[in-house]
């Protein structure tokens, strides 16, 4: 298992190198130049070449990349061109919000999708199954931003009530209040992603429930709960875990919209502003950080295969 994990870990190095190249290049491919924008916003009509030199943007791109990569390797993600604040400090301040929202959304997805998916499979072609499948399709069809907007707008229109937004509390101030302000955005984000997991769970469970070893387990006299949860579900989980791992970027992406609507000070609004201001170091830092998170979450998924299926461990 350790060798398997180490091998996967080593593969992260070239992946990160490619990601860093991509991130660096794509930021500079965004139409519009930070120098023009700063001249417009800060000192328009003055010397563009001088500003370009001050920002270090007059040097060859390769040299700029090497300087940036060298800084990143020493843990320095750079400074905002606009505020001079270290990007790492801003990420550290905002990441807990995004990760809390993402994790709670995943929890909502799993809490809804797994039981409903299992029940739908166990009671195939019953009314419950049809209802579950309809629910999954509805969840897949409803855009999360639309659902969130309805949740915010409709009660205010009819009952003069709106969820509390703009009074963000930190975890250290009020732990319950901190988690409470994520309930609605996590529901919106989690429900819409639950449809995918629900369909996958039902499909995999149906396949596994028809396997010989499940029949054998039943023949041994095991109760339906034990067969379904201990034998069938565990074997059905590998593709489901893969889907959840693959959805990580969607959770991060979806959190941008939820943060915007529910006024949460996460990385979403931060990176959107950075993009609109062409704040290269911040965009690079956030993208690289998210890329690392996604890579490591996929690594965790890979490692969990070994935990779920001993044959994978033995194969290594």
């Amino acid at each position: 298992m350790a060798r398997y994990a180490l091998k996967r870990l080593l593969l992260v190095v070239p992946t990160l190198f490619l990601v860093s190249l991509f991130v660096f290049a794509i930021v500079r491919a965004i139409p519009g130049d930070v120098v023009d924008m700063m001249l417009e916003q800060l000192q328009y009509g003055r010397d563009a070449a001088d500003l370009r030199a001050k920002l270090g943007l007059d040097r060859p791109v390769v040299e700029q990349y090497l300087t940036w990569a060298g800084q990143v390797l020493t843990g320095d993600l750079g400074q905002s061109l606009w505020t001079n604040r270290p990007a790492a400090a801003d990420i550290a301040a905002r990441f807990p919000v995004t990760i809390t929202l993402s994790l709670l959304s995943i929890a909502v997805s799993l809490l809804v999708a797994l039981p409903v998916g299992i029940l739908a499979a166990v009671r195939q072609d019953t009314r419950g199954d049809y209802a579950a499948r309809s629910l999954a399709i509805a969840a897949l069809s409803v855009p999360n931003f639309w659902l969130a907007t309805l949740i915010v707008v409709i009660p205010s229109f009819y009952w003069n009530w709106a969820p509390s937004v703009g009074n963000f509390q930190g975890f250290s101030q009020a732990p319950a209040g901190y988690l409470g302000q994520f309930v609605l955005p996590a529901l919106c984000l989690g429900i819409t992603q639950a449809g995918v997991i629900m369909r996958m769970t039902r499909g995999m469970m149906l396949e596994v429930l028809r396997q010989d070893y499940v029949r054998t387990a039943r023949a041994k006299g095991l109760g339906p709960r034990g067969v379904t949860l201990r034998h069938a579900l565990r074997n059905a989980m590998i593709p489901i875990v893969t889907v959840i791992g693959g959805q990580m970027p969607f959770y991060f992406g979806g959190s941008i919209v939820m943060e915007h609507i529910f006024g949460l000070p996460g990385m979403g609004s931060f990176v959107l502003e950075a993009i609109s201001r062409r704040d290269y170091p911040v965009i690079q830092a956030v993208n690289l950080f998210v890329a690392v998170l996604v890579i490591f979450s996929n690594l965790l998924v890979d490692i969990s295969y070994g935990a779920l299926d001993p044959r994978i461990r033995q194969g290594e």
């Binding site: 606009w82 205010s156 709106a162 000070p265």
Partner: protein, 541 residues
């Protein structure tokens, strides 16, 4: 030097300033039906700025937030009894100002006893002339608005409460522009300590409020400054300036009474007025004059827009009367031109524009004839850049403009641009054929004239290069007497209407609302939010 100030802006204007001061001190407070109450927290949807340095940006977000803490030498009147475009100037940190006969030397006496807030590094020390000199010199060196101070040759501080400013030439908008938030007085110790004013910690001032807390991405909380020179103000204990970005969320919180003011200028969408009247009948809803022009800019430096007949045809294609009556329900301005309609003291009515008045009238037949004479009998196709992010109302306006132009055979091909490209390109005249959008807001008429028409100015989007106009634009800056200046500005309006360098499209009045507990609030075409809110009070704190 004659300090009796008998000419130009001198005595007369400063008597006005003094009268304005008296008016602010007595009239509005006496006029309020209810006695102002102290206390309470005002929840105001605001905007988070890219930087807190007012002298290093044109960002209005920065001006709005910093105005809670910083003060200028002068300010504009505020409160429910004043109009949104009433820019009557009253002393703020200044006590009085005098100008020499030739308009080149301003002597400003500072209000005694004004103190910086009780916080390091200023620790409540007195605001002195050296602070004004420092701030003004820094603005001249760093601010993108520096040209709006005229040509400052030097600043003296004969004593700690007197500042003397020497200009190379008379500059009529000088005192007015000293009341703009980007001209606030800053304490030099902050730059010495922090290196710049970019961070929120640099918000140290002598204004009505002090920054209590800044939570990036969430809000800034301002508390009453106990050291404020006007001991009765502000009435509010605190203002929470909330960085809520989503418009639907802003309006929902407002409907639910969770915020008192739903946007940085209390605006609500025109289309939502009816639903607000139903869901929140007690909320005051007011229409008010907005100052930002909406213009179709053209490359007048090249064909086909270097032909005045084409430009006039485009202007005559717009049915402004119908636009305002039907589309804006009468709540807008059709009589539009180089001076915005709400600037009533400078605005020349259409009937007095001479020949140019013809080109503001809807006359599709004449428009088609002019186009034919210019070599476009079958009309033309034109690319028009635009940033759709201004909002759906702007997109609808542009579609309406395109519909109007199509009636005379001009097909507008709308090119939607990303904000970065728009603001660094089209907004500064970098487009191929046409561009449509709103202007920045200026509180002095010079902003709409000099910036839009003077050869080589960055905001001269239509690439106007007209020697006659340039002479007039320079002259209106030099005439200190208001009546003389008005004559020049009238001539500018006639000339610009005749030449039709821009097609001005009608624009709506703004509509704003606030919760019923907010009293003495009046929408304002200024970014000095601190001055606006220092006179506001809450009925039920």
């Amino acid at each position: 030097m004659d300090m009796s100030a008998t000419g130009g802006i001198g005595r007369r204007d400063f008597l006005k300033v003094a009268a304005g001061t008296a008016a602010v001190a007595v009239a509005p407070r006496a006029a309020w039906a209810q006695q102002p109450k102290r206390g309470g927290v005002l929840k105001h949807v605001g905007l988070e700025p890219p930087t807190f340095d007012i002298q290093a940006t044109v960002s209005y977000q920065t001006q709005l937030i910093s105005s809670f803490v910083h003060r200028q030498l002068f300010k504009f009147v505020n409160g429910a009894t004043y109009g949104a475009s009433d820019f009557t100037r009253v002393p703020d940190l200044a006590l009085k100002a005098e100008v020499s006969k030739d308009g080149k030397i301003y002597t400003i006496a500072l209000r005694p006893g004004v103190r910086w807030e009780q916080r390091a590094p200023v620790n409540g020390r007195e605001v002195v002339a050296a602070d004004v000199k420092y701030s003004m010199e820094r603005a001249l060196k760093k601010s993108p608005y520096a040209s709006l101070l005229g040509q400052v040759e030097g600043i003296e501080t004969p004593d700690k409460r007197t500042v003397r400013i020497h200009l190379a030439d008379a500059f009529a908008p000088f005192l007015h522009n000293l009341a703009e938030p980007w001209n606030a007085i800053l304490p030099p110790e902050v730059e010495d300590k922090l290196g710049d004013f970019k961070a929120a910690e640099s918000l140290v001032g002598c204004g009505p409020f002090v920054l209590e807390r800044y939570e990036p991405g969430v809000k800034a909380v301002f508390a009453r400054n106990p050291n404020y020179y006007d001991k009765g103000l502000p009435y509010l204990d605190k203002v929470e300036w909330l960085f809520i970005k989503d418009r639907s969320t802003q309006l929902s919180l407002f409907r639910a009474g969770q915020v008192d003011i739903p946007f940085y200028d209390a605006r609500i969408p025109r289309g939502d007025v009816g639903s607000f009247k139903r869901s929140n009948p007690a909320y005051p809803i007011v229409f008010w004059d907005w100052l930002a022009n909406r213009t179709l800019a053209m490359r007048t430096d090249k064909a086909p827009f270097n032909d005045v007949r084409v430009r006039r045809a485009l202007s005559m294609a717009v049915d402004r009367k119908k636009w305002v009556a039907q589309y804006l329900d009468g709540q807008g301005f059709e009589d539009h031109g180089s001076v915005p309609a709400p600037m009533r003291e400078w605005k020349l009515p259409a009937k007095d524009l001479g020949e140019g008045a013809r080109y503001l009238e809807h006359n599709p037949a004449l428009a088609k004839r002019l186009l034919a004479e210019a070599g476009f009998p079958n009309g033309m196709k034109v690319k028009c850049t635009h940033w759709p992010g201004y909002g759906p109302e702007y997109v609808e306006d542009l579609e309406l403009l395109a519909f109007n132009l199509k009636q005379v055979g001009v097909e507008l091909q709308i090119v939607n641009e990303e904000y970065g490209n728009y603001i660094r390109g089209s907004f500064l005249g970098k487009f191929d054929e046409m561009s449509w959008g709103p202007s920045s807001i200026f509180t002095e008429v010079d902003g709409y004239l000099y910036n839009f028409y003077k050869t080589g100015q960055p905001n001269n989007r239509s690439h106007v290069a007209d020697t006659q106009l340039d002479v007039l634009l320079d002259a209106q800056r030099r005439y200190l007497s208001k009546s003389s200046r008005k004559k020049v500005i009238d001539d500018i309006q006639r000339l610009t209407a005749e030449k039709a360098y821009y097609v001005y499209t009608p624009y709506p009045k703004n509509v704003s609302a606030w919760t019923p507990r907010v009293k003495n609030y009046g929408p304002k075409n200024s970014f000095d939010r601190g001055a606006q809110l220092e006179v506001v009070w809450l009925d039920k704190a």
